[in-house]
């Protein structure tokens, strides 16, 4: 038995099996239970250490070979596996509460396992192909039935597909550099191809126009998973390149490029968010800003940058999934999520409105919320490197904050309707827990630090 079989192949097969089951309630419960089980198993089961149960013993190996290529998951990857499966479980719960149907669950398993395999595959150039397959699998998740595909979906498909040739080609060039270090002329060419590939893959400005469009076209529960998983995997894939190739890691231009593109993303996202009049698009700009924050974290040299990068992951995941749930509940009862259509909805959906505003403010880095500690640390470090950068960071955060205040004003605007709570009890309980988590993580960020501190160990150079 090998780790890739347990955490990639088996969940992948389960995804297919769940796809065949017509009973929605059963699939939902199975999906939630199985994803939690995989998270717990990644926490409990040791890799490359004999496990004894009475007379019976076994050892989970790190490697699985397929047609001469390897999928490798070592013990240092386990924290990330725990994080991914816990996030999947959280998404399944929130999407089932949002009233999405059971088909999200099999697609969730299929997409996640394909993307974990992209991180685990050796040689790494196959990762680009696996990511592209995951993009294709995600299309049914993003197109509601009976509705023609929108521009956002077509752009998502096009941009993600364009990324693949660039990454494959840079992979080929990088192989040449690895085998012959004297061929340094290849470095700049490989860097250009690699940069272009990642710009498309991670939806970096200006190739992020599909994000607001797609968010507007698609159910919040579906789109938030895609907007969470693809940039996260893209960034981790990028970190793998940094870890493997010292010439990229040690380049004097890299921090400047990462900082500039990160700032560009957060400033454009922040300014658009400040003037936005649609709740769905507002979430999209927050997502764009989150990728920008990650790039800014990576622009900080040393282990501190990596720690900040991983520190952003947990609050972002919780906040985005809660935001999407709140948005899904609100948008289910209105024809549009334009501000004019949801005026005073805070009276009918107080729990959703609270979560929506708190999630928004959390991503803007408002104190006492989950996003604050890491945003404050990132801002401080950026200020040490570049004061101008820190000022732009503040402008961007103020932009997102203003968007949050405007959303609040719309949700609590006077209305003729009476104060009647329309959320059901499971929704109220889950959203209340979400509010509690958002506040507690802001006050006690150290609660997630055992998990966060083990993430960087998956890299041999970056995290040590």
């Amino acid at each position: 038995m090998s780790a890739p079989i347990i955490w990639i192949i088996i969940p992948f097969v389960i995804g297919f099996i769940l796809w065949l089951i017509p009973n929605e309630r059963l699939v939902t419960w199975l999906g939630i239970g199985i994803s939690a089980l995989f998270a717990v198993s990644a926490w409990i089961l040791p890799i490359e250490t004999p496990i004894s149960l009475g007379n019976w013993s076994m050892k989970i190996s790190t490697t699985m070979s397929i047609l001469g290529r390897n999928l490798i998951l070592s013990s240092t990857d386990q924290p990330l596996i725990i994080f991914f499966y816990l996030s999947l479980c959280f998404w399944f719960i929130s999407s089932s509460l949002a009233g999405s149907t059971n088909k999200l669950i099999p697609y969730g398993f299929l997409i996640l396992t394909l993307l974990i395999s992209a991180l685990a595959v050796e040689p790494f150039l196959y990762a680009a192909l696996l990511i592209e397959i995951a993009v294709l699998v995600s299309v049914p998740l993003l197109k509601p039935a009976f509705i023609p595909p929108g521009r956002g979906l077509m752009r998502f498909l096009a941009f993600q597909t364009i990324a693949m040739p660039f990454i494959l080609f840079s992979g080929w060039l990088l192989t040449g550099i690895t085998t012959g270090p004297e061929e340094l002329s290849l470095i700049s060419q490989a860097a250009i191809f690699l940069a272009l590939g990642f710009v498309f893959l991670m939806a970096i400005f200006p190739f992020n126009t599909w994000i607001p469009l797609l968010t507007e076209e698609t159910h919040p529960s579906s789109v938030v998973f895609i907007l969470w998983i693809f940039p996260t995997i893209g960034l981790l894939f990028g970190l793998y390149f940094l870890d493997t190739f010292s010439w990229i890691r040690d380049s004097i231009y890299l921090p400047v490029i990462l900082r500039s593109s990160g700032l560009l993303m957060i400033v454009t996202g922040g300014i658009w968010a400040a003037f936005q009049k649609n709740f769905k698009r507002m979430m999209a700009y927050a997502v764009i800003m989150e990728t920008g924050y990650s790039l800014l974290a990576l622009s900080i040299k040393g282990t501190l940058g990596i720690d900040l990068f991983f520190g952003l992951l947990v609050p972002r995941t919780l906040t985005l999934f809660l935001w999407a749930l709140a948005l899904a509940i609100i948008s289910k009862n209105t024809s549009s999520t334009q501000f004019s259509k949801v005026k005073g909805f805070g009276r009918k959906y107080p729990f959703s409105a609270t979560v929506l505003i708190l999630s928004h403010l959390s991503l803007a880095g408002v104190p006492l919320l989950a996003g604050f500690p890491i945003h404050q640390a990132l801002w401080e470090q950026l200020g040490i490197i570049s004061l101008t950068g820190a000022i732009w960071y503040a402008i961007a955060s103020i932009g997102l904050f203003m968007g949050g205040i405007r959303s609040l004003a719309v949700l609590v605007a006077p209305s003729n309707e009476r104060f009647i709570i329309k959320e059901n009890w499971p929704q109220r309980i889950f959203l209340s827990i979400g509010i509690l988590i958002l506040i507690l993580l802001g006050i006690f960020p150290q609660w997630v630090s055992p998990l966060l501190s083990s993430f960087p160990l998956m890299f041999s150079h970056l995290g040590r």
């Binding site: 397959i133 294709l136 299309v139 197109k143 039935a145 009976f146 023609p148 498909l157 693949m164």
Partner: protein, 196 residues
């Protein structure tokens, strides 16, 4: 003989790629796409064993058939474009620019990659260029899928010149087939389960 055939298939690719861009009828577009795969097969078989290269042709034809099944027999391209000039002249001139640009960069690209077949490199760059051009001027789902397939076809030629991994070839075939399935799904607005 091979050199002459290289030129013949370059013309096939040239006509097919420009033709599928200009065409307003999905039958012609898919027909041109099929012819394009024939050209791709030809250039790939100059480097790879023919039994491996033929996979590209067969998968390409399957892609065309799969996309054809998603079209209603009476319709031309639905959802006419509104945002860009749609005249034949505009499209033809834009395609001509791509032809000239790729003609100019094909020889240095061949030298840089160490590829002896400059015609093949040109065919590859031409397909990638036309694919990108199409992606830039259309949002119509079938056209976007055809453009992506064209882009990947061009990439497959140049990648075959430098990398001969059978597994990469197999995965690229899988992606081609996947794209056609996605195209079929996107174009069918009924008979699908409601996910959201």
């Amino acid at each position: 003989m091979n050199i002459i055939l290289n030129y013949v298939f370059l013309i096939v690719i040239l006509v097919a790629s420009i033709g599928q861009m200009l065409s307003r009828d999905w039958r012609w577009s898919l027909g041109f796409l099929g012819a394009q795969y024939l050209g791709v097969f030809w250039y790939i078989q100059t480097i790879w064993p023919i039994n491996l290269a033929i996979v590209k042709l067969i998968s390409g034809l399957i892609v065309c058939i799969a996309l054809a099944t998603s079209q209603k027999s009476t319709t031309s391209f639905s959802n006419p474009e509104t945002s860009w000039p749609q005249g034949y002249l505009f499209r033809f001139l834009a395609a001509a620019l791509i032809v000239l640009a790729t003609l100019a960069i094909a020889p240095p690209t061949s030298t840089w990659l160490g590829v002896s077949n400059t015609i093949g490199t040109w065919a590859s760059l031409l397909l990638m260029g036309i694919g990108l051009l199409q992606l830039g001027i259309t949002t119509q789902p079938l056209r976007v899928i055809i453009a992506l397939l064209t882009l990947i076809s061009g990439f497959e030629i140049i990648y075959a010149f430098v990398e001969s991994s059978a597994l990469v070839a197999a995965m690229l075939v899988l992606i081609n087939l996947g794209l056609s399935l996605v195209g079929t799904y996107l174009l069918s607005t009924d008979n699908v389960e409601n996910i959201n």
